[in-house]
């Protein structure tokens, strides 16, 4: 494991992760006990969740959405540690925006770690017996004496989109 797995939750709140600045390695999100690794190349921005605004009229839907108040209105949502929709974001104070199939989407988390090199995670395929249906998880890897599940922007975006049909022309 690289020595560069630096907690970044206390850093500048917005814009410090640029698509071109990070060309390798992983960004690991903490969602309660779950660790979810995304390729850094898929990450567009990490921002404070408190900077996001709720999408009006969303209260009755299963998946609550948020959007950026400035710039393009990228949508974000929060899931629980089983990657299922949850009503409240709880202590998730960060939002990781990533490139998906059809634009940029965000997922809230409590903490993130940067891993500098792709080799910092040795990704293994998910055993077939653990697969039940559509899933964004494409692999598993050791991370901090435990495990991180591995996804990528396209699959995670497709999964988030599958949880919600579009509202008012928005993509999530």
């Amino acid at each position: 494991m690289s020595a560069t797995q630096t907690p970044i939750s206390s850093r500048a709140p917005e814009g410090f992760v640029g698509g071109s600045a990070l060309s390798a390695g992983w960004l690991v999100l903490a969602i309660d006990d779950l660790r979810l690794a995304l390729p850094q190349t898929d990450v567009r921005q990490v921002t404070l969740a408190s900077d996001l605004e709720g999408v009006e009229g969303d209260e009755s839907r299963g998946l609550r959405r948020l959007k950026r108040p400035r710039g393009k209105p990228w949508l974000a949502c929060h899931l629980d540690h089983n990657l299922r929709p949850e009503r409240s974001p709880g202590a998730r104070r960060l939002c990781v925006f990533f490139g998906a199939s059809d634009g940029v989407l965000g997922l809230l988390c409590t903490h993130t770690w940067l891993l500098a090199a792709a080799s910092d995670l040795r990704v293994e395929p998910v055993p077939r017996c653990l697969i039940e249906g559509p899933t964004p998880i494409i692999g598993m890897a050791f991370f901090q004496e435990a495990m991180a599940v591995v996804s990528d922007g396209r699959r995670l975006g497709d999964y988030l989109t599958s949880l919600r049909v579009s509202v008012d022309g928005d993509s999530l």
Binding site: L83, V126, P127, C129, M140
Partner: protein
Amino acid sequence: MATPSKAWLLRLAQDCLVAVSPGYMVEYLPSARMIPVPLTPRHAPGVLVWRSRLIPVLDLGILLTDSPPVATPQRRAMVLAYQALPGAVVHHGALFVQAPPTEIDVTDGMACALPDKPAIWEQLSHACFLYEKQRVPVINLLWVFMRSYASLPHSVPEAVVHDPLPAALGMENPAPGII
């Protein structure tokens, strides 16, 4: 009289015993900590860290007896080895068990039909024998660990041919190269 084969009994639930050939038994873990994996089947909740590897762990008692999931973080588990073909890569997986495994002798005369229910026994077992008035399926670890449970319940695949007891207990096929 035929020489008895050895088999290990694994108790998966209160009323659910299965047998495994000795060659596939690797390590009994009296206190295994499971790491949950999201979006998995109810009976396949996650992985174990075992010898610096991540291996799947199944709670077949849930699948076979419809018992509720056990919330205890530390549980007994049996690490098993399996491979697709002789000489192929050996994979490992684990089953949650309710008690330490026990070794018994099995003879051809003990062979019996698989339990009628649940139907999935036919897809997880390749033989069965009667032990102390209880039907004990011999589970095929390849079918248990290398299948997807995406669309349960399944019909029995046409290719499934159940083995006679000696073959099911590994007497006719060498065990995988267990570490």
